[in-house]
């Protein structure tokens, strides 16, 4: 069995690939549903109803899409430059911390000024956090996979310390949480009686902006060149280290903005369960999207559908909501296979 590169990949094939991959993943996961003794069709119908079956369900799914778009973009930008940022989770919390610092009464500006400031501060905090492992990588060749991953735990422990210690809100009846963001710092709700907030628009705009950056600008060209072949990029005179550092600031900044979004759009105050691993899920989202900024929107939506749907399905059936993680994980594998098959054909013998 051998792989032969295809000369030509048609648009239909490029679109059908990921769709078939997702269907294949669901087919594989139906085995697990069967195993837990439920009907496959019922389970999947409930899953989609739970995610998209009502106005409220859709709004919830889009709310979750919002944060996943931002963490997905963070991973996609960094991975394009072959900067393996696994620290999205830590950068997300760092962004939330910065917004908490400034947004709980320190600045009492009008919303039009305060909200952008909080986003900016969050982005800066996330970016600076990623800057540390990045400088270690560019100047001392320290592997960033290890450092960014471990930084996540350090930041989580820092947040732990903050919400149990100095930032603990005395009005919170002993719960470990920071003081709430003041009203001027909160994002407006987009749909009445739902939790869908204006962060969704911020996420969409970010995806579009990153697409423009990668596709049409000098910076994007440099990021892609460094990612595709760092030696050749250096040879051609591209400032490789500067490009990687710039990428780190953008990537960390996006993850930081994800944290701000969750904080001022949804939760209102900093706790330890602000993010159930959105930073890590962002990596899956980016990979599912083939690192394409606009594709991130679709893959973030897909992952949000699966997670929200599985939550509601598991309430009705005896299928655990861990099925969501399995579906996304299996989809990641099938999408990778489909990407391979759109580029190569299999020859037997």
């Amino acid at each position: 069995m051998r792989l032969e590169p295809r000369d030509h990949v048609s648009l239909a094939m490029a679109i059908a690939g990921p769709i078939l991959a997702v269907l294949a993943a669901m087919a594989i996961c139906s085995l697990l549903i069967l195993w837990s003794g439920s009907s496959i069709t019922e389970a999947y119908v409930l899953l989609f109803k739970g995610a998209l079956g009502s106005r409220f369900a859709i709004s919830e799914t889009l709310t979750r899409t919002t944060v996943l778009i931002l963490t997905g973009l963070a991973a996609a930008v960094a991975f394009r430059a072959k900067l393996w940022n696994i620290g999205g989770e830590g950068q997300l919390y760092m962004g939330a911390c910065a917004a908490t610092m400034l947004g709980t009464g320190f600045l009492e500006w009008s919303p039009y000024l305060l909200v952008p400031t909080l986003f900016l501060a969050g982005a800066l905090a996330g970016g600076l956090l990623l800057l540390v492992p990045t400088l270690l990588k560019t100047h001392l060749k320290v592997d960033e996979v290890v450092t960014t991953l471990l930084l996540n735990f350090i930041i989580l422990l820092l947040v732990n310390y903050l919400v149990f210690g100095p930032w603990k809100d005395p009005m919170a009846m002993g719960w470990p949480q920071a003081a709430p963001i003041i009203d001027q710092g909160l994002l407006p709700i987009l749909l009445a009686k739902t939790r869908l907030h204006a962060g969704f628009l911020v996420a969409l705009a970010s995806a579009f902006g990153i697409w423009v950056l990668m596709r049409f600008t000098v910076w994007g060209y440099e990021i892609r060149a460094v990612g595709a072949n760092p030696e050749a990029a250096r040879f051609a005179g591209v400032p490789v280290n500067r490009t990687i550092i710039r990428t780190a600031l953008i990537s960390g900044g996006l993850a930081g903005m994800a944290g701000v979004c969750e904080l001022i759009g949804l939760k209102g105050y900093l706790t330890l369960d602000l993010s159930p691993g959105f930073g890590y899920t962002g990596i899956v989202v980016a990979m599912l999207a083939g690192l394409h900024p606009l594709g991130v929107i679709l893959s973030a939506f897909f992952v949000a559908v699966v997670f929200n749907g599985a939550d509601s399905m598991s309430r009705a059936l005896s299928v655990s909501n861990y099925i969501a993680e399995v579906i996304t994980a299996v989809s990641l594998l099938t999408v990778l296979v489909s990407m391979l098959l759109t580029r190569y054909r299999i020859r037997w013998k």
Binding site: V218, A225, N229, F235, G237, K349
Partner: protein, 509 residues
């Protein structure tokens, strides 16, 4: 003398999609002869050999070795029938000894020591019989390239090969090593072996082969006794049209453009990779650097590419004085860099032709505005260049990875030469290219020389150096020799210098 046919390929055809890689190929190989298989890259030799060794299954046709038809698709069958292959890129394990490499894959599960003893005896007998001396206990990584090739040949003989297929065997050898390889081949022939010699170097084919077969577009277009044909006829058959050899016309060299003054570059463990190298390059001349690969050419090329700073000594450029090499500096001062490693360093395979052609100038005002690339200008620029430099490609949005080696090199030439550089570094510019593309590269370098550029040509192809250069310097263990006059030096003398011997060769003015 009647010919005993030891191997015959009968009407072999193989399709890859719409491409007909082999078209009803008929070839015969007789005992005691060398058959040269000539052809440009992609003419079908590789496919044919893969069919012979069972890696591909032919659509039609059969292979007969010693009167037995080989079963298709069985890699072991050819080896067991007595066919051995010596690859261009050696398939040896560096950290094993010669003996271990040779028996690798033949050792039984039990009784390894005993097997080793028997193997050593057999190896001794073989080396004596064929005059192939190699120390069986030496580690392969300590061997010279010529010795490694001997190990490859011994490996085939150890497996009782009676037919030897050699893929571009001289590509990595110095002239003396080529002579010694030819002597070895003659020994093999005397003992009744038969050799298929795959090459595109005409001089060597004329020297060693008894018969030649020329492949073009998957077909045998010419088959002849070597004595009955000529270099010109073979070249024409390979390419399908006449190749005008670019000629160097005498011209006066101008002012000094670039000079290296006592430049030393240290490697690991304080090894001198470049050792007090002196070099001057003048306007309107081509200076050649001859040498066996690994003697400091890479460092010299890196120096001019801006990837390597001199640890000692000075690099001076006309109009800039002493400079510290950096890629962006070299680009700014108009140094055109054609590097050896096209896909690893010269180009970015996953990016498009447009993007690659812009990689050294995307920050120019012409190509970008307020941080945005002007894609329309870039595309027009790319279209113009692929037309001027005759790059064959599906379009400017095509990925560079998908181009052939020759077209990749044309792309690099287009990017470099369109900026009219005053100094040009060309490191192995025709390596792996076919006759047509090689002639094109040569004519472009000569054209640059004519308009007054200085060219530093680092090459392992001595014919190329003698044909193009105004002066030649030999590099050996990081040291550059005096300038030699290519008109007054022979291949043999160059070969001796390349292996570290001093000669009394006449110096260039």
């Amino acid at each position: 003398m009647s010919r005993t046919i030891v191997m015959s390929l009968n009407k072999i055809s193989k399709h890859f999609g719409p491409l007909l890689a082999n078209n009803a190929i008929d070839l015969e190989l007789a005992e005691g002869e060398v058959l040269a298989l000539l052809g440009e890259n992609g003419a079908g030799q590789t496919t044919l050999m893969n069919i012979l060794f069972g890696h591909y299954v032919a659509d039609e046709g059969s292979v007969t070795v010693f009167d037995q038809e080989l079963p298709p698709g069985k890699p072991r069958a050819a080896i067991e029938a007595g066919v051995g292959m010596v690859h261009q890129h050696f398939t040896l394990a560096d950290n094993l000894t010669v003996l271990e490499n040779i028996i690798l894959g033949t050792e039984p599960l039990w009784g390894v020591t005993q097997h080793m003893r028997a193997a050593l005896a057999k190896l001794d007998r073989l080396s004596q019989e064929f005059g192939l001396t190699v120390d069986p206990k030496a580690q392969v990584k300590d061997l010279s390239v010529g010795e490694m090739q001997r190990v490859e040949i011994l490996k085939a003989l150890y497996r009782n090969a009676r037919i030897l297929i050699m893929d571009e065997p001289t590509a990595v050898l110095t002239p003396p090593e080529v002579e010694s390889l030819f002597a070895t081949l003659r020994q093999l022939l005397k003992r009744g072996l038969a050799v298929v010699f795959i090459s595109h170097k005409l001089a060597e084919v004329m020297a060693i082969s008894d018969r030649v077969a020329v492949l073009r577009n998957g077909k045998v277009v010419l088959q002849a006794e070597t004595t009955q044909t000529s270099r010109e006829a073979l070249a024409e058959a390979m390419v399908g049209r006449e190749i005008p050899e670019p000629k160097r016309t005498p011209q006066e060299a101008g002012e000094i453009l670039l000079s290296l003054d006592q430049v030393t570059v240290f490697g690991t463990q304080h090894k001198r990779l470049l050792d007090q190298a002196n070099l001057t390059l003048r306007a309107g001349e081509i200076v050649g650097i001859a040498g066996v690969s690994g003697h400091g050419q890479a460092q010299l090329a890196d120096l001019l590419s801006g990837l390597q700073k001199p640890d000692e000594g000075r690099l001076t450029l006309r109009g800039a004085g002493e400079i510290i090499p950096k890629p962006s500096t070299m680009i700014r001062y108009g140094i055109g860099r054609i590097v050896e490693d096209r896909i690893g360093l010269g180009l970015i395979g996953d990016m498009t032709i447009t993007e690659n052609l812009a990689s050294e100038s995307y920050r120019d005002k012409k190509f970008s505005n307020f941080g945005f690339l002007r894609f329309n200008v870039l595309k027009e620029h790319a279209r113009q260049l692929i037309e001027d430099f005759d790059v064959r490609c599906p379009g400017v949005a095509a990925q560079v990875r998908k181009l052939s080696g020759g077209n990749m090199q044309k792309l690099i030439l287009a990017r470099v030469l369109s900026k009219k550089p005053i100094v040009i570094l060309a490191h192995q510019p025709t390596w792996g290219l076919d006759v047509g593309a090689t002639a094109y590269v040569h004519s472009q370098l000569l054209e640059a020389r004519q308009r007054g550029a200085g060219v530093l040509l680092i090459s392992e192809d001595l014919d190329e150096l003698l044909q193009l250069c105004d002066r030649i310097q030999v590099i050996y263990h990081g040291r550059l020799s005096e300038s030699l006059d290519p008109e007054n030096i022979s291949l043999q003398e160059l070969g001796l210098l390349m292996s570290g011997h001093q000669t009394t060769a006449p110096k260039a003015a």
